[in-house]
Structure formats: structure tokens, C-alpha cells
Symmetry: C2
Subunit: 434 residues, 2 copies
């Protein structure tokens, strides 16, 4: 028994060490179909553990259909639905392709994606681009001409020019930007204002060079960057994805390496438990809704930006971002209390990502399913909140459902044996993995 517990802790230390060692560098911006492994023209990637087509409802279903129409895979909604039901258009989970989806998380082959390489671990992650500040966006389940125009501008102008600028300077290291942004009021999930500015400044000199040939496009890109305080979120997601993936697949580790949700379920993946998803019904979000909406209008439609919490950002760094109160509610004191609680379920503190308010204590990193089940404290996540009928209607805090962690812990015990007595849970380990 002692031996297993010692080995579990050693495995977790190794997992978190890899997670913290990641050196994500943005190396390119390319169409998903040309760079994302396994991506075909008929593939649409969406958020959450895999579900059959019929299980996608509401905004997530609308978003998938919108993706098919944007990509020209079907001429109208009815034929898109037929193609999706018949399997001609395939819906697959983002995580299986090195991607992470924001909200519904729609990826189609022609959408540009950030290509982020982990210079330490060698892994690669991808994320598509922020659609802009309008509340109606494809990833929030809306498909109309405005959304089509935004996506077309990203595909035709923003993505290609960003790619050129990034290649011209041989990549943009993201870790230094993230480290600084945490000292400037970002928690890098629901607040990315400083990181977006820091990234923009990194690109200035390349943009000066590109300005001779394409002055209009350069100005269009700068407008997009200036209007999009959330721009960097997609980069912090890709950076978090490579960090989390670096920690995956370590035998005996009980560290969470992915959290995700669809319109139906929340799910987690664990380093030492292979590719199984441990699922539970969706929790309720504690939302602050925009004027004109009520909490009854909230309709979750998926989300994988919580990969950031998986590696110690977002809800795990709220005390770095007190300005978030305005956006997602709560008080500074509540934010600090919540953030402190996250240390109780984390294996370590990040050596470089630090919270000034906590005296530059490292963010809590590496969620241990054992600690979650033993304490009943579940991960807190800062999320954008979609509404029934599509569009963003607010922001708030989501708590992961305990049942996922119980299911994962049961699987861990089943595979590796009982932890030591003092770590054993009185009621045993419930739940099952699917």
C-alpha cells in the first residue's frame, strides 16, 4: 500500500514537472485542414467528450451545422443535418486532434489555427482564432451573415497575415507573455487584456515590415487586435493544451490532464488512466448575465477553454485578476478565497506563473483527483456564458462536478490499488467511467 502511494506521488510530481516545464511558442497560423492531424474537409471538431450526432442539441448543434455551412459542406441546414446524421460530415472531439474548442469549439478545414509548439516537451497544440467582440459568434451557436463575414475576414486576412508576421520573427514565445500578464490583471481565461497587448507589441516590428506590401491588411489586423481583448485566450488555450498533454500518459499519476464539456456532459481525463473520459451531468454556472438577460436564459453549449484551469490559470489564478468582478460578478475577497481553495486540490505551485496578491506565490497547478475526492473541493473555472438561441449573454464561474472525479478515482483504484489508509476515502470510490 505504502509503495503505491509513494509511486502515485512520484508520478504526480513528474506529471506536474512536465506541465510546468512546457515552453509554448507560437510558430505559425495555418488552415486547420493543412496542419491539424486527422483533419479532413468533411471533419468538424467540437467541444466535449465524444457524443453521437443526435446527442448534440441547442447551440452546440446549431454551431456544428453553421460550421458545415461555412465550410460549404452542404447548401442548407436540412442537407447539412442529413449529411451529419448519415456520417458524410463527421463530428469529432477537438481534444483527439490536438485542439481545444472555445465554447462549442467549431473547427472546419479552412479555418486558420494557431500552431503552438512546446519547445521543452516537443508536443504541438492548436487553437482557432477569436471571432471578434460581437456577442453573436459561431462558437456561441450563432450562424448568420455577420458571423460568416467575421469568419471570412479571419480566414482571408487576419489568419494569413498573422501567420506571415509570426513566421517572420521565427515564432513568438508565449510563456514570457503569460508570466507578465499575470502581473497585469489577467488570469488568462476570462481576462486576457494585458496578454493581448503584450502579444500585439511583439508583432509590431514584423507588421512594420509587412506594411509596405499590404498596408490595408496590416491596419485591418491592428483594428482586430485592438478591438479584441480576448484575442490572447486562444493562445493561452493552445499553450495550456501542450502543457497538459506533456503531463499525460504517466503511469500511476492521478493528475487531471484535460477537462471538457459539451452541451450534455462534463468530462475529465487523467494522466495515468489513458484516453478514457470520466463523465458527469453538466453543473450549473454561477453567472453574471448582461443587461436584458436572466439566469434562466443561460444555455451551456460546450467549452474547452477550461484547459487553462487544468494547468493553473483562470479560476486557479483569479486573485491575479480582481478586475474580473465587473465581468463575472463576485467580490475581491470571494475571488481570493476561491483561489486559495484551489491550492488544496493541486499537486504543486507553478515556478514561473505567479500571483502578486499572494506575495508572488505560484499558481496552483496539477489537479489531483485524489485530493478532489478527499476534500470535496472541485475545480473552479472562469467561463463565458452562452444563452438560449445563441450568443454570449454573460460570464461566470463553473464548478466541475464531483462525480467525474469520483468515477476517475474508482478507475484509478481499480487499476492501481487502494491508496494508503490515511488517504482512503471513508465511503469508498463511486462512479464509473464510460
Amino acid at each position: 500500500m505504502e509503495a503505491i502511494e509513494t509511486r502515485r506521488q512520484a508520478a504526480n510530481a513528474k506529471a506536474v514537472e512536465r506541465m510546468c516545464a512546457a515552453e509554448p511558442v507560437l510558430v505559425d497560423v495555418r488552415p486547420a485542414g493543412r496542419i491539424v492531424p486527422g483533419m479532413t474537409r468533411e471533419t468538424i471538431l467540437t467541444s466535449g467528450a465524444p457524443l453521437p450526432w443526435d446527442a448534440y442539441t441547442g447551440g452546440q448543434r446549431s454551431a456544428i451545422i453553421g460550421g458545415a455551412l461555412f465550410e460549404g459542406l452542404a447548401p442548407d441546414t436540412a442537407s447539412a443535418v442529413t449529411a451529419l446524421a448519415g456520417g458524410r460530415i463527421r463530428v469529432e472531439p477537438c481534444h483527439d486532434h490536438g485542439c481545444v474548442g472555445s465554447v462549442a469549439g467549431i473547427y472546419t478545414a479552412s479555418m486558420p489555427v494557431f500552431v503552438v509548439e512546446d519547445r521543452a516537451g516537443g508536443g504541438r497544440g492548436f487553437c482557432n482564432l477569436f471571432e471578434g467582440p460581437a456577442p453573436a459568434r459561431l462558437n456561441y451557436g450563432v450562424w448568420n451573415d455577420d458571423v460568416r463575414r467575421s469568419l471570412a475576414a479571419i480566414q482571408d486576412v487576419i489568419g494569413p497575415l498573422l501567420g506571415e508576421a509570426v513566421r517572420a520573427r521565427a515564432g513568438v514565445p508565449l510563456r514570457p507573455i503569460m508570466r507578465r500578464a499575470l502581473h497585469m490583471g489577467d488570469e488568462l481565461h476570462s481576462r486576457n487584456t494585458a496578454a493581448t497587448l503584450l502579444f500585439t507589441r511583439e508583432l509590431f516590428s514584423s507588421l512594420l515590415d509587412l506594411d509596405d506590401a499590404r498596408p490595408k491588411e496590416v491596419r485591418r489586423l491592428l483594428e482586430y487586435l485592438a478591438a479584441s481583448d480576448y484575442f490572447f485566450l486562444r493562445l493561452s488555450m493552445a499553450a495550456s493544451k501542450v502543457a497538459a498533454d506533456a503531463a499525460h500518459g504517466i503511469e500511476e499519476s492521478s493528475v487531471v490532464t484535460a477537462m471538457t464539456f459539451s452541451c450534455r456532459e462534463f468530462a475529465i481525463r487523467v494522466s495515468g488512466l489513458g484516453d478514457a473520459w470520466f463523465r458527469a451531468p453538466l453543473p450549473r454556472v454561477a453567472a453574471k448575465v448582461f443587461a436584458g438577460y436572466t439566469e434562466a436564459d443561460v444555455e451551456l453549449m460546450g467549452g474547452e477553454s477550461i484547459i487553462n484551469e487544468t494547468v493553473g490559470l483562470g479560476g486557479f489564478a483569479q486573485a491575479a485578476a480582481f478586475a474580473l468582478q465587473e465581468y463575472q460578478g463576485g467580490s475581491a475577497e470571494e475571488m481570493a478565497v476561491l483561489n486559495r481553495a484551489m491550492y488544496d486540490i493541486a499537486v504543486a505551485e507553478h515556478p514561473e506563473f505567479k500571483i502578486p496578491y499572494f506575495g508572488f506565490r505560484g499558481v496552483p497547478v496539477g489537479i489531483d483527483i485524489h485530493r478532489v475526492t478527499a476534500t470535496g473541493i472541485t475545480p473552479a473555472m472562469d467561463v463565458g456564458v452562452p444563452g438560449r438561441g445563441g450568443g454570449q449573454i454573460g460570464a461566470g464561474i463553473l464548478r466541475a462536478p464531483l462525480a467525474c472525479f469520483e468515477a476517475a478515482m474508482a478507475a484509478w483504484v481499480n487499476r492501481y490499488g487502494e491508496p494508503t489508509k490515511e488517504n482512503r476515502r471513508p465511503g469508498g470510490w463511486g462512479g464509473v467511467a464510460r
Copy 2:
């Protein structure tokens, strides 16, 4: 008696209303000699209430001599000293010319200055430019070839190009930048990282236009801006100067409209007490010194960046900038406690400059000499710390000496009469104004 107290409070409300209403806009960058009122080629402006030449010692004296040499007013130190002692080169206080000096605060005629207009009150303020990140700078009492080269680059490249970029976009409003920066970890005195980035982004499209004609200069300016997290301090100083000046000269007001210090004295000016400076010996600074120095190496040599505290920034907004711990010491808790104490001596809370950690409470604004003397709480100021022999050797917190406020309160009582009984100070009002 009651009537006087009522009128005092009404006067203070008016003073603070004007202070908060200021709309500072950077409209130009010009050589001081062409724009600063009363500036001549033989004038050198320095920090602090006026002193005879002989009274300037140490770093401040070296800085004034360095200014004379930079401006070519004398071929060497000995002849500069002769010209200064004889009055051919005149040393005057920055504040008398609409300027505010950082540390020793040296202005000579050819140095470029930011020209900031208050679009609400109509006033104008000036501040010269940050010399760059090297610890050895003229305003820290150092004069050598490196300092000369930095100043020359500012005079020949940085200043003129900034001026062109600013004129091309018809001015840069500073208030929105300052408001946002307070949500991004700046208190706008010892931390200006976010404001510098926001300002840089504002300028970028003008710089793209200027890039065709002067690509080298544009890149040089961007390098300067990227290397100078403190760049914006000079803009927040000029913005604070116009806000403080707008509140000056209101009969019966007991609100402080300037704080300043030289190498010898600390001094304040009060809205309802004309242009008199109320002086006291220099306080000690609670400094965190850079590696290799001790507190014994500290040598104050003047400073007027504390105009920012006069209008509610810096030490009055520390809880917006917990990352400052690293730079100037203290804990987040101490910073919050100190910041809260500043509300006890301020007349109002700023309607737009807010502190996220305090639930977006406005910064405390308008220091009331009555409250300072009644409570014994003196203004806390975030300052850069110079060392013996010149150069910056650290940063820290300076508390204004109570004696200035006692002297000012005595003058106020002498001019306007005793405040109400409950506001009267048990021991009477001591001190004198010079």
C-alpha cells in the same frame, strides 16, 4: 464658526470636482524652450520649492550642473558652477513653469517635453521624457557620456518623432489610458507598465504612416517604448499636474494642490493659500534597495512625481498594483492597509479612476490638510530611490512630513479663522510658512 467650516467644505468639494473633471490630452512634444512659459536658454528647472544655488547639494547639484553642460551653457563643471553662482544660468522651480520634475527634475531649453492640455479646465502642463531604463540618468544626478547619448537620442529622434505621431492623430487622450491601466496593475507612479503599452498601441497606426519616410527612426522609437515600462510616468505626471492646477486658487479650500521635494526640504501648496510653499525637513524613505546597496547609500535629490499622489494615484492607488511588492517591498496586505488609510485624509473618491481590489471604489482624491493634521496620517508616496553618487538604487515609500501640513493649517486658520470645535485640533496649529 459653523459658516467657515461649511464654506471650507464647499470650497474643497469644488476643488476636488475640478481635479476629477480634468481631461488631459497629450497634444504635442516640443523643445521646452519653445513651449514652456518663461523658459529661456539660460534657465534650468529643478524639483522642489525654490532654494538659493548654494543650498543645492549632492545629486541634485550634480544634475543641475549636468543640465548646464548638456545644454552647452558652460564648457566644463567649474565654469558652470561660476555661471550658476553668478546668476547667468538661472535655476528655477519646475512648478513655476507648469512643469513637474522626476527626481532632480532637470529641464533645459532644448529638451523635448510632453505638452498636455486639460480639455475640461483649459490648463496646460509639461513633463520631459523618461531617459530610459539604465539606472544612471541625469535626473538621478549622473552626468557622463552615456547619459549625454541617451538625452541626445531623445532630443534628436524620440521626441521629434513622438511629436509627429501625436500631431498626426490630433492628440492622445490620457484619461482613458489611465483608467484602464488602474485595472491592469498600474498605480501610475512606480508602475506604468500597462499604461505604456496602451499608449504605444494608440500610437502604432501613426507610426505605420511615418514608417515610409523614416523606417530607422520608427524602429528606434519602438525599441525605446518597449524597453521603458516607466515611459508613461512622465505622461501621468503632466496629466496630474493639469488636474492639480485646475484645483488651485479656490478661496477657503484646504486641499493640497502640489507636493514637492528638493535635496533639502519637502513642501506643499494649498488651493486656498496662494503660491506659498509650506516646508519641512526631508523625511526618510522606506526603501527596498537593489542588490549591492544598503539603506545607508540612499540620498534623496528631489522629486515631483508625487504630483500623482496629489490627485489620487501612486501611494493612493497601491491596492491596484500588488506587483509593486517586488519592486518596492512590503506585502499585499500592507499595501491595502496603507491605501485604505489614504481615504481618511482625502476629500472624495475619484468617479473614474478605480481600484478593482476595493470593489472598484474610486481612488481617494484631494488631500485635506485639515484631515492630515487632525488624524496625523500623512500622504504615502511611491518613489524611485537615488543613491549617493547618483543613479537609481531602489524604490520605496515616502511619507510626507506632518510639519508641512501643520504649517499650512496654521496659515489657513490665520487667514480664514478657526474650524468648528469638533474639527479643532487639541494642541493648536504649529509651524510657519516661508
